[in-house]
């Protein structure tokens, strides 16, 4: 049975990047899936500019506690 590749499969591929050459080939061969892949990758790339992180003072407190 041939599995139809969906946009959700493309999303999982973007985020989980599992080595799956058959999925990659399907994406490359299908214009709609390729467009989907490109758009999702661009959006993911935008989010990579941001980081959700704690303050420096919190990190310094932890590092201070970690000292021997």
């Amino acid at each position: 049975m041939i599995k139809t590749i969906t946009e959700h499969d493309v999303l999982k591929f973007v985020y989980e990047k599992t080595s799956n050459s058959s999925l990659e080939n399907e994406i490359i061969k299908n214009d709609n899936l390729l467009n989907e892949f490109v758009e999702l990758e661009k959006a993911k790339g935008l989010l990579d500019v941001l980081s959700l992180e704690p303050s420096k003072s919190t990190i310094d407190s932890i590092l201070n506690y970690a000292k021997y």
Partner: protein, 200 residues
């Protein structure tokens, strides 16, 4: 100066056990954002998340220093588990539904600046940060939640589905819409900005 393989947590933990504070700093740097985000997603209060983050790593430090840390488990999942349990315990003790306080509604997103960024590149990144931050806040709550869980807390789609009580397809759908909406709106905002700059 001893260089450690930062990809190998076991090496770093062993080095810290032997007294290398630098090794611990590397471990902390590797996991701080993911653990912080996981806590924040439960408690929905960035100041409380910071306090709990400290508690998590105090437990981690005490466990390693005492020699009772069991190397059979992986370091990363272990720390995340501690964080999850602490956050849930705190939530239960508080006995209140978590709400975002008005004064700290904005997530503390920072710009991921690289040391080799020029001043202009940094300005562009900060501009992008401000726009993205606004756009993320404007996403529907369920899309924002999935986006934060997947992209910043590094949870799998399966974990997100279980955590939010929806099917994996629903979780995937929300994430897909979040990314597509974000990208479209970001392009719109940038186009408006460019048109305004070039108006005569």
């Amino acid at each position: 100066m001893v260089k450690y393989d930062v990809s190998n947590d076991a090496t770093l933990v062993a080095a810290y056990k032997e007294g290398s504070e630098d090794a611990f700093a590397k471990l902390l740097d590797k996991y701080k954002n993911k653990v912080y985000t996981k806590i924040y997603l439960i408690v929905k209060d960035q100041f409380l998340a910071e306090d709990l983050l400290q508690e998590v790593f105090i437990k981690v430090i005490d466990k390693i220093k005492s020699g009772t840390y069991n190397e059979e488990g992986k370091f990363g999942p272990w720390v995340v588990r501690i964080a999850h349990n602490l956050a849930i315990d705190n939530f239960r003790k508080a006995k209140r539904y978590p709400t975002i306080h008005p004064e700290n509604e904005d997530l503390m997103f920072n710009t991921l600046a690289l040391s080799e960024d020029s001043a202009e590149e940094l300005r562009i990144k900060e501009d992008t940060t401000n726009k993205l931050k606004t756009l993320i806040e404007l996403l529907p709550q369920n899309q924002k939640e999935v986006l934060l869980m997947r992209h910043y807390a590094d949870m799998s789609f399966q974990e997100i589905a279980e955590s939010t009580g929806v099917s994996i397809n629903t979780a995937l759908g929300r994430m897909r819409y979040a990314l597509i909406n974000l990208r479209k709106k970001f392009d719109q905002v940038n186009n408006v900005y460019d048109k305004n700059n070039y108006r005569t």
